[in-house]
């Protein structure tokens, strides 16, 4: 029983991490139809920059801020320099971001080398917390879970209760009409891209503390984001949460109960989702 609950908790915290990465991916896709296959690179780069900033300043929170802000900035640069110039050319955008991720991965390998880095979060985060039934559990992982829930609710509120959220939703439905009603669509796009990319950078620091950062993590999280949004439905933040839950739990249960074929469960969920709901659980037909 304890083992089972522990697996559930592990699955939930992994899902939290996947949600942080995938929500940005799905937001950008939903609004702009931009498939950013460099999203995993943003995760890893945010993690590395956050790590260096935390090392230099001695504060983990500065690391978090650095990860978020640097990637938000890079997101705006990418949006204005590349995606804006290739509107409507999905395939070309995809190819460009693949090229970018190759170059970025090599740049990161050049700067930070092949070592594995581990963050040091503040002392009060690194201990364990007593929980009923499972006894002790890592405080940090519980905080990650809590943070993802808070960010998820925050995103939901932003999208559903604010003016900018209204614009974003309107942009998802009909970009041209939104522009025609006098909204600076370019600004909305850049903001969304900044939020999405920033979330990936933030997740890089958060995930780097929970696990570690090393070359290759970029593709791992890109893949996780892909599967999460395929299962959950492109462009839906709620879908990303549901997809992340499925994938996080499947991965951890696979790891705990049949380590050899853990990955096959993830794959099976994706195939089933495609077979019965090709647009994803929360997705709409495009």
């Amino acid at each position: 029983m304890r083992f089972f609950l522990l697996t559930v908790l592990n699955g939930l915290t992994l899902a939290a991490l996947y949600f942080l990465v995938a929500s940005g991916f799905t937001l950008v896709f939903g609004l702009m139809r931009n498939v950013n296959l460099a999203h995993g690179s943003l995760y890893l780069l945010g993690g590395y920059i956050g790590f260096s900033a935390a090392q230099a300043s001695g504060s983990w929170f500065i690391g978090i801020a650095a990860g978020f802000l640097s990637m938000a900035l890079l997101g705006v640069v990418l949006q204005t320099l590349i995606f804006r110039r290739m509107e409507g050319q999905d395939l070309r955008q995809t190819l460009v971001t693949i090229g970018l991720s190759i170059v970025l991965a090599d740049l990161m390998l050049w700067i930070w080398g092949g070592e594995t880095y581990q963050f040091d979060a503040p002392q009060w985060l690194m201990g364990t917390t007593a929980l009923p039934l499972v006894r002790l559990y890592s405080t940090y992982r519980l905080v990650v879970l809590g943070a993802a829930i808070v960010i998820g609710i925050g995103l939901w509120l932003l999208l559903n209760k604010t003016r900018i959220g209204m614009m974003i939703r309107a942009g998802v439905d009909d970009r041209k009409m939104l522009a025609a009603s006098g909204v600076n669509v370019q600004l909305v796009f850049a903001t969304t891209f900044a939020i999405g990319a920033g979330l990936a950078g933030l997740a890089g620091v958060v995930g780097g503390t929970a696990l570690s950062i090393a070359p290759g993590e970029d593709t791992r999280y890109l893949l996780a984001s892909l599967v999460v949004v395929i299962v959950g439905g492109m462009g839906s933040v709620t879908g990303a949460a549901i997809g992340a839950l499925f994938i996080g739990l499947a991965e951890q249960f696979g790891l705990a109960y049949s380590p050899t074929y853990g990955i096959v469960y993830t794959f099976l969920i994706m195939v089933l989702a495609l077979a019965f709901r090709p647009q994803g659980i929360m997705g709409r037909r495009l």
């Binding site: 999905d90 190819l95 693949i98 970018l100 090599d106 380590p259 077979a275």
Partner: protein, 351 residues
Amino acid sequence: MSSVVEMRASAIAEVAALPPAKAGRRFATWLGKPTPGYVVLTILLLLYPWVASPFFTFQIGGQSLALGIIALSLAFLAGYGGMVSLAQMTLAGVAGYMVAILGSSNVAVSLNWPWWVVLPLAIAVATLASVLVGAISVRTEGIYTIMITLAIGVAFYYLTQQNYEVFNGFNGFPRVLPPSVFGLYWRDPLPYYYLALGVAALCFGFVLYVRRSTFGIALQGIRDNPRRMRALGFNVTAHRVAAYAVAGLIASLGGILFTWFNGRISPGSIGIGPLINILVIAVLGGVRHPIGPFIGAVVFVLLQNFAIDLVDRERFNMLIGTIFLAIVLFSPDGLLGLWQRLRTHFSARRL
């Protein structure tokens, strides 16, 4: 890619302009017009190993041909089917793994069956796997196809890495070597080069034939306007899955050659890097004509081998990534498109 868009008008016009099939004429036209370019190219390729060193014959020539065949399978899907599949290296890997498992290697898992049983089986299994990949991914379109095939490819990578009973896990299969047939060892530079050249020529001709066939024309029609083709009574899904079968057949041939070239197969040969490399090769060369992936492969292999002289040995990915970016940004039709643009530019000036 804008090429696909530009080709839209031409394919539908092609359907209309297609002459009523006459057996004699069809045979002459299925390769397109036999231009002097083809003849010169054939002679050059046949003479190449007699002037080049064994290194250039095997490492550059042989490898380019093997990789070119795998990339050709992607170019066929992308150029004529409008489906960009990242799982082509995975299918090549399936064929490679079948050769290793059913044939001989250094690992006890191998069954040591004779090559004339192993090869057809490997090709059949990989083609079937391709049909399966197609059946899963044709439900989606455009970028979704890329994402799903990428996910399938990586799932297979993890499967081979973690399964020891069949795929021998992380180590894979060392010493997967071609058989000695007709008293020739097919991994020696000269025989290997000619074997790869022969298979490449077959695949090249096959793609040229298919694109002119009824099936190929219908496929291009589906690429351009699936709704219209469905309304005309074509089974869109079946055509797409069949295109995957053709691509799988080509990829399996390239996969077997590439496995023999490396002399081994392991999860590392079908990881995310190699999957992306095939896309890079196809896009670099251009997918509008089956010669494109081979041009891309030659450039890729040359860069891979001589990047050390240009930049740091470690920075090959940066180099190829930057070139890939430049091509995608400035010449969406790849090197072929660049060539075409230069030619029209100069012929326009001459007028």
